[in-house]
């Protein structure tokens, strides 16, 4: 069995819906797929252990009373507007080479890269307050790669932002001409803030020039 075939059956394997023998044989021989299964199982296990906080002690009585005798209490529960965090107001992304900077309104920054010359782009996220488990997604344009992630145009991970400036060092390399922008999307709760990074690409200096 090839990895591709195994991975196409991963869900059924996780659910125990398949004859496991050929899959187990593949797993015993393939460390990558084994890691993928372990990762998937860890996520599932985490979800199963995720217990909700206690509901309000009076909730059951109140909810039943509201449903059965709406005239006694307000029939409509407190309705909250679905608003997000203060991302738009409180987060600033600055991008630079060498020395970083940040701007109050910085939806677009331009970064100079030389072809085939790795550069560390420093992204500064300035947060007015700590943000736990924010999600940062990068969409890379064609011909730009994060060093060590060859061929990956989409990278997503979660991290905690501290109050104040948070620095992410992003090792980038241009493989050729770049037409599009890099999009850095920061999400927390229901809010998302997208930043755009333009590239100016120069050919790498040849030795001695």
């Amino acid at each position: 069995m090839e990895c591709l075939e195994f991975r196409s059956q991963l869900d059924d394997y996780l659910d125990g819906r398949l004859d496991e023998r050929p899959l187990r044989e593949h797993l015993s021989a393939c460390a990558d797929c084994r890691r993928m299964v372990q990762h998937a199982q860890a996520v599932q296990e985490g979800l199963r252990k995720l217990s909700p906080p206690e509901m309000h002690p009076a909730f059951v009585d109140r909810a039943i009373l509201r449903a059965t005798r709406p005239s006694v209490v307000d029939a409509h529960p407190r309705r909250r507007a679905l608003v997000g965090m203060a991302l738009a107001a409180s987060l600033v992304l600055g991008l630079a080479l060498g020395a970083f900077f940040s701007l109050r309104e910085a939806p677009v920054q331009t970064v100079a890269l030389a072809v085939e010359k790795p550069e560390t782009v420093r992204m500064v996220f300035n947060s007015a307050k700590p943000l736990r488990a924010a999600t940062l997604s990068l969409s890379l344009p064609e011909n730009v790669e994060v060093v060590g992630y060859t061929g990956q145009r989409e990278l997503t991970w979660q991290t905690d932002l501290r109050e104040g400036q948070n620095l992410l060092q992003l090792p980038l390399i241009a493989r050729g001409a770049v037409k599009d922008d890099l999009l850095a999307r920061l999400s927390h709760g229901t809010s998302t803030k997208t930043f755009r990074v333009k590239f100016e690409i120069a050919k790498a200096n040849s030795p001695g020039t």
């Binding site: 985490g46 909700p52 909730f59 709760g189």
Partner: protein, 194 residues
Amino acid sequence: MSKVSPYRKARPAELNFDDLLRPQVEYLYRLAWRFTGSVADAEDLVQDVLLKLFPKTEEMLGIQKLRPWLARVLYHQYVDSVRQRARSPALEVVGDTEGDDDPLDTLPAAVAGPDEQAEQGAWRERLVAALGQLNPEQRAVIAMHDVEGYTLEELETMLETPLGTLKSRLHRARQRLRALLPMEPFSSGKRVNA
């Protein structure tokens, strides 16, 4: 000797409703929290369902397996409420708030203490945040299948959704969760306070 049903059509609907639903509220709340990720939203959702169900008390008296039936009602109420919110321009407000509506605010913060405990708190928050990135249908299939243990065949009947659609939804949801909960792509020390 035949079992005597505690429910009587002659009894006031309020009593029957109380007898039927009170034992189910905690289950509904748990499921609603898995859908919404927020205590307040979960309580609102359960309240909305109870309001909707009271006029159907008599119908519920005849339902053999009440819990899956209730889960289905809750699911539809949840999806409807999310769509309703999405249509409301007021809900797109982004700005300074007290933060009481943020799903994560309802979670206990990682407490000081043993590293393991702090790590568990952080992992929990990451899981909740990752779930928040799924669409309502994906969240629901994860909650009902991966957590509550309903089989896809059971969900096919409960949610009146084709098995193929459920499988594809589950596949995408799991794939997204794995992508959102990766091994940290950047080694430690890459994120620092400047």
